[in-house]
Structure formats: C-alpha cells, structure tokens
Amino acid sequence: MQISGAQMVIEALIAEGVDTVFGYPGGAIMNVYDEIYKQDKFQHILTRHEQAAVHAAEGYSKASGKVGVSMITSGPGFTNAVTGLADAYMDSIPLVVISGQVPMSLIGTDAFQEIDAVGISRSCTKHNYLVTDAKDLPRILKEAFYIARTGRPGPVHVDIPKDVTAQVAEFDYDVELDLETYKPHVKGNPRQIKKAMEAIANAKRPLFYLGGGIINSNAAYEVRDLVHTTGIPAVETFMARGTLSYDDDLLIGMLGMHGSYAANMAMSETDLVIALGARFDDRVTGKLSEFAKNAAVIHVDIDPASISKLVNANYPIVGDVKNVVNEMLKLTSMVNSDNYEQWRETIENFAELHPLTFHEDTENIKPQWVVKRVGELLGDDANISTDVGQHQMWAAQFYPFTRPRQFVSSGGLGTMGFGFPAAMGVKAAVPEKTSINFTGDGSILMNCQELMTAVEKKLPVINIILNNNFLGMVRQWQTLFYDKRHSETDLSVQPDFVKLAEAFGGIGYRVTTKEEFDAALKEAVKKNIVAFIDVKVERFENVMPMVPSGGSLFNMMLLEKKESK
C-alpha cells in the first residue's frame, strides 16, 4: 500500500494498539496532525506545553504498562520535550516520542525552528532516529516501539523531517524486525539462580531489596509470592512502592535518604541483599562504603551495566525480574522460612524503636496527616502521582499503597512539574480510579497551564497542594545544613490557587482545617472535575527520618521526641 509518511505514522500507531497520544502541533509536524484529524482510532490529548505532553505519556505508561506516545514539533517544541525524555530515560519508562523536523533540504541551514534534535536526545533516550526516507518509516517505527518496551524499557525518539511526512512510499508493517545487534538477555542463568537460592538458604539475615524494575516487568505479584514463601523481610525503593501492600507483615518500608529507621537498619544489618530490579541509587545507598557492608549481594537486573556498577554483586543474574523470580519460585523448597524468625524479630524491634510517624499539631495541618487522610478516605480507589519535593517523600512514606502502578512519581531525574501532567496521563489510562496529584506550592506552578488540558479533556485530576509557602525540600536542607539561610526559597508571594483553578474552569478549595479538607476532597471526588485543594500546612515541617547526603544509612537524623507539656 502506497501512502504518505504522515499516514504511515498513523497506521503504525494503530497497528501498535495505541489508544491515546499526547501532543502539541506545530509547523514541522502539521502533515501528521492533518492525518490525526482524519482518523478516529485513537484519541489525541492536546496539552498546553510539550514538556507536559511527555510527562502525561509517562503517567499513562506507568499506570497502564503500555508504551506512552507523544507527538511534538521541531525546534522549541522538541527542546521543551527534552525534560520529559530525560525523566523517562532515568526511570526506564517506555515511550515513543515523535517530533517533526524541518525539511531535509533545510537541515543544517539554521532554518526557522530547526534544532539538531537527535543530537540533543542522544544522551537522554534509549535510542533515536532521524528518518531520511519515508520507505524506512515502517521499520523505524516498529523498531522504536520494540526497543522502547523490551529489555530495560526507555524512551525512543523518532525525528521526521516535514518532507518525509509528505513523501509517498510503500507501507508494510508486517516486516520482520532485524535487530541483530539488540538482543536483551531476559532469561536468567539457571546455575546462577540456583547458587543464589543456596546463598538465601544459608543466610541468617537475608533481605529483599525491591526496585522499580519489578513494576516495569509486571513482576510484583510473583515477588509477593517469593517474599511470602521464603518469609524473608523486604524493603522497597521509592520506585518500587506498591510492590508489596502497605499492610504486608514482611514489608519493612521504604529505604534510603527518607526511608524508615527499620528499613535502613535492616539494610545495614543484613548478611545477604537480594536486589530485584534495583540499581543502588545514591539516594538509596547513602555512603557506598558503609552500605550493607557485611552482606553478600544477589543482584537481578535486565541491564548488565547496572550490575556491579556501584556495589559488587556476588551473585549477578542478568535477566527480566519476572522470569528470574519465576525460576526462583521453583526452588523455594531449598529455603526454610523458620530460620529467619529471629531476624524478623530483630526488625520488628527496629520498627518499634523508631516507627515512621510524625507529631500531630492541634493548630496547624501537618502535611503527613493530609497524605494519611487521603489514604483513609480513598485508599485503593486512588492512583497517586506526585511532583517533586517534601510532599513527594511524604506521599511515598505515608500513603497506604496496595498495588503496583498505583504510585507514579519522578524518581531518577526529580522533575518538578511532573505530577499534574503525569496524573492526567494516569487518569487517561485508568479512568475508573480517582487520580490524585500531591504537589507543592513550588511544583504546581511549573505546569499549572495543564489546568486547561484537564478541563477540556475531562481529566479530573485532584491536585492537593501541600502549601507551606516554601520550596520545602530546599528550605529543609538550608535549615539543616546552611545555618537556616533560606536563600530564595520563601514563596510567600503566591497566586490565589482557588481563583487560578476557577480561571481555567476547574474548581478550587482553600483549606485551613482538617474538617475543611475532608469536605473539599469529598466534594472534589463527587464533582469529578479538575481541582486544586490548597492546603495550608505547617511551614517548617521537615521530612524525617533523613540520611544526610553521603551519610551512612545507619546514621539517620530521626524525628525528635515530642517534649511533654
């Protein structure tokens, strides 16, 4: 079938089963948008900024497990999208981002809205393409989707010059992929897996270290089986929240910089780390030389470059976590859960000694209370997204996650402005769940224009602004490590968030009491339109516990005991 390059893009998306595309048109991509206008197989969601288009695709992908798609134009359209690409790359989110480019004859002439897009995206994508001939488009698009979703997932960028989208060529999407150089190793080595299981059987204080790769490979329920069958306690990374349900007896909590005392002490005391789809990020390990320093390490990861990158793995297993865990499950008869009874008791004692909690306040609303309260009111019925900052950590610490893909946040890159568009993507993917975005008074302003998208496309995200009139996390560091010099973090001058929401056709609530919060949340859920709930919270609350940057996990700053009155 002879069709134009622009039509090929549409046909390829349909063949890939894409139901939602997030994007923003412009000169160089107009031929493709003209074809979008003519079709009715997938919906297009017009964001109000290209960065938001990519974040929304990320949220969609994280919540659904499918490849997210966004479409943008050349030059500034593309450069606006780079933050989203980098974010998806850091968090291994499968995306295909299609950008328009100036016509081939103008490439390299500093033409209007020209930028070396593939040159820019090379360092923040899993792979990228500049399409120079329409006859290559079917193969390239098929490869792009395949590369994005296989192996360690990631964003793939396809840059298409305008004349290529107009060019007519043969379209056959049933082509066999011939990627001789790309063969992800998905099956773990059986001998290594057996050795790892022997190490588990012989360990006295083994500990599961659960990472975001588990969510990416849809392995959470297999991991739950493995944890319960072996009776080995588990800590989760920020990216793995929801792998185990919050009320699971074997879940110690989140570890790392703002992890629980019990989780970090368990990691410090363990004699065998069983890392599944985790990459030993510096926010998790703290000081590397002190991290689990008496432990052997089993490391399961699909990315060979992640294994032994930071912490030497005694039992390296390259493979998809789901496959490897399924193989491990076949060997669990080697492991006797009773052997770890004493270890489980030790961990319980850690948890009792310094539980993850906060001090209630009768005068001010504590941000942690808000997170817990949303959990009590909505629980499993909500999907949770966050922006980046203190509110993000409180959400990860205190929300009662019950399932994988319930929590969507920017982990690796830490992108302020991620939350609202991502929550729209989540809502588009899972419309039956309430989509909550915990945000801060700093973060929300970075993509608040998406109010318009959410209103227009009926994506009723409830943005809960934990408003402390500060760039809270930076203020916390300034308080603790810069002698309270709060340089440029005071956000006392603010827009009226209620009016801002209303100006776009949404609904806004200003909340200063717990009763008002309950009423606002219930009404926002019931009204089912995009909302800002501006919650005035305690200004100087810190995220605790905390491991100072570069410190050891076992040397945590803990919540100060409340003075008795």
């Binding site: 792979h127 990627l179 001789e180 470059a305």
Partner: protein, 158 residues
C-alpha cells in the same frame, strides 16, 4: 575506588549507520570516560565498522565502558583486548635541508620510510607499536620536524 588506572584498548563492532560514531563518543564524554585515541573504518564486505578505542581507567571503569558500549543499540560486539597486536602510524614532515640519509635510517628502524620528497620538504611514514612511535618521535626531534601527525591505534587480538 582506589583501583589503579591503566591504559586499555577496546574494539567495538558497530552497524554502519548515521551518527553511530557520535553515540560512541557521546557515551564517553557524557560519563566522563577518557579517549586517548579512536580509529574507525568499515569492515570489508560487511555492514559493520570497527572502532579501536584507546582509553584508560580502573578495572571498574573499563568494565562500565564495555557494558555501556554494549547497551547501545547499533553495537554488535565489544572486545577488551588483553593480548594483542597494536599498531599506530605517524607522518612527519622535515625540511629538505636536514640529513635525509640519517632520517631514512631512523625510519627504517621503526618500520618506516620516506614516502614523499618535494622541493622544500620530505615526508616520512612509520607504522609501529604506539610506544615505539613515541620513541621515533623523540629520536627525530633534532632534525627539526615541521609537522607531525599521528593516527590512532589499530589492534587485533593475537
């Protein structure tokens, strides 16, 4: 990380396609790895090219370099050479007024010869192990070389 830094030679077989060399060099610059020299040419009668990269780093860094290179989609194979034959070339331009027979004799000692004689200059070529090319360039200093150009290394496993 107290590992010793060592000179290493890494060969990379890549698919011949647009911007593949940028992918390789971006990886090095983006991760702060060092490139001492880089040589690239197509492998005859194939769709691949071979890059020979001379780099340096600790065992851990070299391991990361090979793993990260292998992650790139167009990379077919990565070899980190241990026992290899390694050669490098240098072209040197001398004033014709220098002692040509002396220069010629030195070139011979380093697998080289005079490859061009002009009105004002002569050009010599040597092809030898990188260390020996260093020695050659030391030896010819007193003949006032006007220009020196070195290739990167090429290497094959024994």
């Amino acid at each position: 990380m107290t590992d010793n830094t060592e000179r290493r030679v890494v060969s990379v077989i890549v698919v011949n396609e647009a911007s593949v060399l940028s992918r390789i060099t971006d990886l090095f610059s983006g991760r702060g790895y060092n490139i001492t020299s880089l040589t690239v040419a197509p492998i005859p009668e194939s769709k691949y090219s071979r890059l020979t990269i001379v780099t340096s780093g600790s065992v851990r860094v070299i391991e990361q370099i090979t793993k990260q290179l292998h992650k790139l989609i167009p990379v077919l194979r990565v070899y980190e050479h241990a026992d290899l034959v390694e050669k490098e070339m240098a072209l040197v331009k001398f004033p014709i007024t220098e002692n040509i027979s002396d220069i010629s004799a030195i070139c011979n000692a380093y697998n080289g010869k005079i490859v061009n004689v002009g009105n004002d200059v002569i050009i010599t070529m040597v092809a030898d192990e990188p260390k020996r090319v260093d020695h050659y360039l030391q030896a010819i200093k007193k003949y006032n070389p006007k220009e020196i150009v070195r290739s990167g290394a090429v290497a094959l496993e024994r």
